[in-house]
Symmetry: C2
Subunit: 189 residues, 2 copies
């Protein structure tokens, strides 16, 4: 509840070092083998034992969140700025969704991991927590401006977009961006 930087009892130096190494190693492993990269691989890349991975990141979701936290926060922030910069709320939404798709489409397997149920609940929860309010603001602005139909929720939209991105980089014949475009076009009044 309280802030974590001061409230935490200050960890040992090697612990902090290992956490950094693990985040770097996980990022590299995710690029190479997707977010399902074996825990042992990640541990080996970081030069630590598997026990250390689990101590710092009890679930894979924690590790994924750790790796992508900055980008997710940036995405949440971008929703605010794009509303101010775009010509209309709908334009802002389109641009923001574009950014979201870019993010997902370059993370091997992340879109697939985002659906609930596989033990990735924490990951799903984090994304929902950070991005649904951002998306909701854009959607609401569009509805208020009369550009967007009012009967589609932010969570629903984001799950749809996320699902459309599954497998996007595995198959060149499948263009997720195109289908997302159709879906978003369907939001217009």
């Amino acid at each position: 509840m309280a802030d974590a930087t001061e409230g935490a009892p200050r960890r040992r130096a090697d612990a902090r070092r290992n956490e950094e190494a693990l985040l770097d190693a996980a990022a590299a492993a995710f690029v190479a083998s997707g977010v399902d990269a074996p825990v042992r691989d990640i541990a080996a890349r970081a030069g630590v034992g598997v026990g250390t991975v689990y101590r710092h990141f009890p679930t894979r979701a924690d590790l994924i969140v750790g790796v992508y936290r900055h980008q997710v926060e940036a995405l949440a922030e971008a929703a605010r700025t794009s509303l101010a910069e775009a010509a209309s709320p709908y334009e802002a939404l389109v641009r923001w969704i574009d950014g979201f798709v870019d993010f997902l489409a370059t993370k091997h397997g992340l879109a697939g991991a985002l659906r609930e149920g596989d033990g990735f609940e924490g990951l799903h929860a984090y994304f929902v927590d950070r991005l649904v309010p951002a998306c909701s603001a854009l959607l609401d602005a569009g509805v208020a401006a009369g550009e967007i139909r009012p009967d589609v929720g932010a969570l629903e939209l984001m799950r749809g977009v996320g699902n459309l991105c599954i497998g996007a980089e595995d198959d060149p014949r499948y263009d997720a961006r195109r289908l997302v475009g159709l879906l978003v076009a369907g939001l217009r009044t």
Copy 2:
């Protein structure tokens, strides 16, 4: 290549019996635990050893295809009849897609298994082989009638719809049908 009912060298009675039992057991296991149900579970339900499962169905895809073959064939057939019965090609497409979504949404995990890459290539190939031509016919008719934009392929559309169905029955807040509706609406000229 030739027909399988006569060309095959006639199998032993226990083999045929076990294949039936396995299809029944798999169907039950899929309902209970999804299409990722452990092979050992399926074998146990059928009262056979795991070796027997693999002898009859070398890959999980073969088993899934075996279980759902009738429904998939019916879906392929439905494309033809719906074109004749519906008021317009677009209406026919909408109805057919509805049927496709119904099918996927009631098969725990099937939509997820359909994406290529996991060792389900055979499953994906079968669905593509049987359903893409069916969908393509509807799409072409709609394009010819000027109702549907001509720049979206059947494979792309079906993958999009399939992806939107992933996880549909896990979360009551997520309505795949609704989003598929948006996507299909986006196909109109």
